[in-house]
């Protein structure tokens, strides 16, 4: 018998130990702990979910956020007000413009400035286009999470047109940094409205395509219907917002119920979609309808765009008077709010950011109890979070 090298001996001992460990986890009632993330294809970012499994069934699961914390709340304290929008663009990176709006509205509230009507309308158009850019990716990504690769490519193809329109106005595809206290940086470019309406028609046909390709598919229905049901009371108790809440049957939308003066949602005719089931299918379906509804909002606002200035009278050096303000808007992922404390300086004294995804994923441990491993992915995908929006 040949002598083993030290490395071989160690490898042998280690392999035995690994076998024994797996055996223990498999054979005791304790179950096996499966660690999804922080590096995992399903979490599109660095969310970590630890799940204790009994076979393929989840006994308990826990979410560990914080791997992408960038300290935005602290960073805002050392910046002036115009500089802050650059930062907070990156919270929900798929619908960047929507991040700027509540912060600007809070600052406007403290300064007692109102944006002129044209600025409010364009702001709402861009707000809704950010929603479309965000939700289109959700609809495409849904396919990948459930194993169908093709819808993603359609989503990225059609989102590009929306991003082109956003870029035409703001100069930035992803991070517009366009909203200003008291209005907007610039007016719309020439010919933009006609192009945008064509893009909106395209997005509607994309929604039809997704409805055929995914929502009408038996396997998709079998995978999502009745999976991860969140009743309305639970949804409210965990502070869910946005489409996740409306999919549980709660008819609540800040665009309609928030009484926000800086946006022009009151001036158009649109509908808040709800679904009574509260399962994964309901959440996906509500988002599909919201994408369509957003294109109608943009269409109507483009038709009835008032003329006039796009900037109110604002001092050259912006100093926000002392006080506190909290403004929450209905962002693509749910309710997003900024609690702004000013001491009268060039920059905010303290900013607390309430982001939708952070509250939305708080329900994950509750809803994952007893589901199967593939359902973890379905539920996480249908709850729809952006890592930047969880960790800030």
């Amino acid at each position: 018998m040949t002598a083993l090298t030290e490395r071989q001996q160690l490898a042998y001992v280690d392999a035995q130990a690994a076998d024994a460990r797996v055996n223990v986890e498999l054979e005791t009632d304790e179950g096996m702990i499966l660690n999804l993330g922080p590096q995992h294809p399903a979490t599109h970012g660095t969310l970590r979910v630890t799940a204790k499994l009994d076979g393929e069934q989840v006994v308990w699961a826990d979410v560990v956020p914080g791997y992408m914390h960038r300290g935005y709340e602290k960073l805002t304290e050392v910046r002036t007000y115009p500089q802050v929008t650059t930062l907070i663009n990156r919270i929900d990176w798929l619908g960047s413009f929507a991040n700027e709006v509540p912060f600007i509205l809070a600052a406007e509230q403290l300064m007692e400035i109102e944006a002129p009507p044209r600025a409010r309308c364009i702001r709402t158009i861009l707000f809704e286009m950010a929603r479309i850019a965000n939700l289109v990716i959700f609809l495409g990504d849904l396919g990948v999470q459930l194993g169908a690769v093709t819808p993603t490519f359609y989503a990225f193809r059609d989102r590009e047109h929306v991003l082109d329109q956003i870029e035409a106005v703001t100069g930035g595809r992803f991070h517009p940094n366009f909203d200003r206290i008291g209005g907007l940086k610039d007016d719309l470019p020439k010919g933009w409205i006609a192009d945008t309406k064509a893009v909106m028609a395209r997005i509607r046909s994309f929604c039809d395509e997704m409805e055929d390709l995914l929502f009408g598919n038996e396997i998709f229905e079998a995978r999502t219907r009745g999976v991860g049901v969140i009743p309305a009371e639970v949804a409210l108790a965990y502070g869910l917002s946005g489409a996740n809440l409306r999919a549980s049957g709660v008819d609540w939308d800040l665009r309609r119920d928030g009484g926000i003066s800086g946006l022009a949602h009151d001036e158009v005719d649109w509908k808040v979609w709800t679904h009574p089931d509260g399962d994964s299918f309901a959440r996906c379906w509500v988002r599909l309808q919201e994408t369509r509804e957003a294109t109608h909002i943009v269409d109507q606002l483009c038709d009835g765009l008032p003329s006039g200035p796009i900037m109110a009278k604002v001092p050259r050096v912006i100093k926000v008077p002392p006080g506190e303000a909290y403004v929450e808007t209905e962002n693509p992922l749910g309710a997003m709010g900024y609690y702004l404390v000013s001491k009268g300086d060039l920059g905010p004294f303290r900013v607390k950011i309430r982001s939708a995804s952070f509250s939305n994923i708080s329900v994950v441990p509750w809803v994952l109890k007893g589901v199967y491993v593939p359902d973890i992915i379905t539920i996480l995908a249908s709850l729809y979070f952006i890592l930047g929006d969880i960790d800030r």
Binding site: D14, A17, A18, V22, H40, A42, G147, N217, D375
Partner: protein, 345 residues
């Protein structure tokens, strides 16, 4: 059984060399074609993109580039892995594909082994790949691999049954287990007395063909049955820890077995290497036959990959329900109907 290869008398070692080259070509050619035509090009066109365009005309050399890349990569074996089993697993999986091709006839004299129980042999060796996958899943010392390996085992065993039962219908109709015999039966048969195009069993065994296709999809672990490698759940399932050459072997096995099963399906249901109206014993069929079979392989593989790029995946329990509650009863009914009609006509 004779030991002819292409109807030429050769020494034993010459035959062995020819067969080795033949099997290699038979495995790698369809596999490469499937990867390029379906995975690179058809998938891209379905997803409104072009796919590889740089390497060679229309990216036709892309596959060589990919293979070159994989061969260069470091072969990483995890520290806690069971080294011997880990290294062995991909070879077991690839070996099954080679063994499957051995039983498939390509022409009147172009075959590797003309077995009396040909289809039985093929179904038997094709299930060896489960062992390789289980070994890969277990020896990687990774929980994702373990889950993937166990899922693969459960799935492949569940879908072996409907596949075998679907084949039974064909065997009853042909009256033989020998694949050459099945080809001849389709060529010379008649559909309820009409013998214009022979009797390709896809027409008279249509239910069997559908069951076979679904089971095929599951055996190949292609979407919607790709839970063993479910990317969004298990990273890459039993392949998670593999890299370099060993990953390439798994990759080849995936597409080569798609080709092998498509060849079996083509032989069982589409008339194999024969075409309606040709002379089965003619020498030129030894050249034309493989081409005809390759065309039919592409046809079946097109269906497989079309579904793969379109559907989302099932959940593990839904997959088992489909096998046990739908496919198996349906294939049993199919066998009964085939028997009744066989006796009646």
């Amino acid at each position: 059984m004779s030991s002819l290869v292409l109807a030429v008398e050769l020494a034993w070692w010459q035959q062995t060399v020819l067969r080795t080259i033949g099997v290699l070509a038979a495995v790698l050619l369809p596999a490469g074609t499937l990867v390029y035509v379906f995975l690179f090009k058809m998938m891209s066109f379905m997803q409104s993109r072009l796919g590889p365009m740089e390497a060679g005309p229309y990216g036709s050399m892309q596959l060589l580039a990919e293979v070159g890349k994989w061969i260069q990569k470091e072969d990483i074996i995890p520290w806690r892995a069971d080294r011997k089993l880990f290294a062995m697993a991909p070879y077991i999986v690839v070996m099954t594909v080679f063994l499957t091709y051995v039983g498939v006839p390509f022409g009147p004299d172009a075959w590797f082994a003309d077995l009396d129980v040909g289809i039985f042999y093929i179904l038997a060796v094709s299930s060896i790949s489960v062992l390789g996958i289980l070994i890969a899943g277990w020896s990687s010392a990774n929980k994702y691999s373990l889950l993937g390996g166990l899922r693969a085992a459960g799935q492949l065993i569940a879908y072996e049954l409907p596949m075998v039962l679907a084949v039974v219908g064909v065997v009853i109709q042909a009256g033989t287990l020998n694949l050459q015999g099945i080809v001849a039966a389709q060529h010379e048969g008649a559909i309820f007395g009409w013998d214009g195009i022979g009797n390709p069993f896809i027409l008279t065994q249509f239910v069997g063909f559908l069951i076979f296709l679904v089971a095929l999809q599951a055996e190949l672990t292609q979407t919607p049955f790709d839970m063993p490698v479910a990317e969004s759940e298990l990273v890459s399932g039993y392949m998670t820890e593999y890299s370099g050459m060993r990953f390439l072997l798994f990759f080849i096995a995936e597409f080569a077995s798609a080709g092998a099963f498509a060849a079996v399906a083509a032989t069982l249901f589409l008339g194999g290497w024969a075409l309606p109206g040709v002379d089965l014993d003619a020498d030129y069929m030894n050249v034309l036959g493989p081409i005809v079979l390759l065309a039919k392989i592409m046809l079946v593989a097109f269906l497989v990959f079309w579904v793969r790029f379109t559907y989302p995946r099932f959940r593990e329990d839904q997959l088992q329900q489909l096998a046990w509650k739908v496919l198996i009863p349906l294939s049993l009914v199919n066998i009964l109907a085939t028997m009744a009609l066989k006796v009646a006509y």
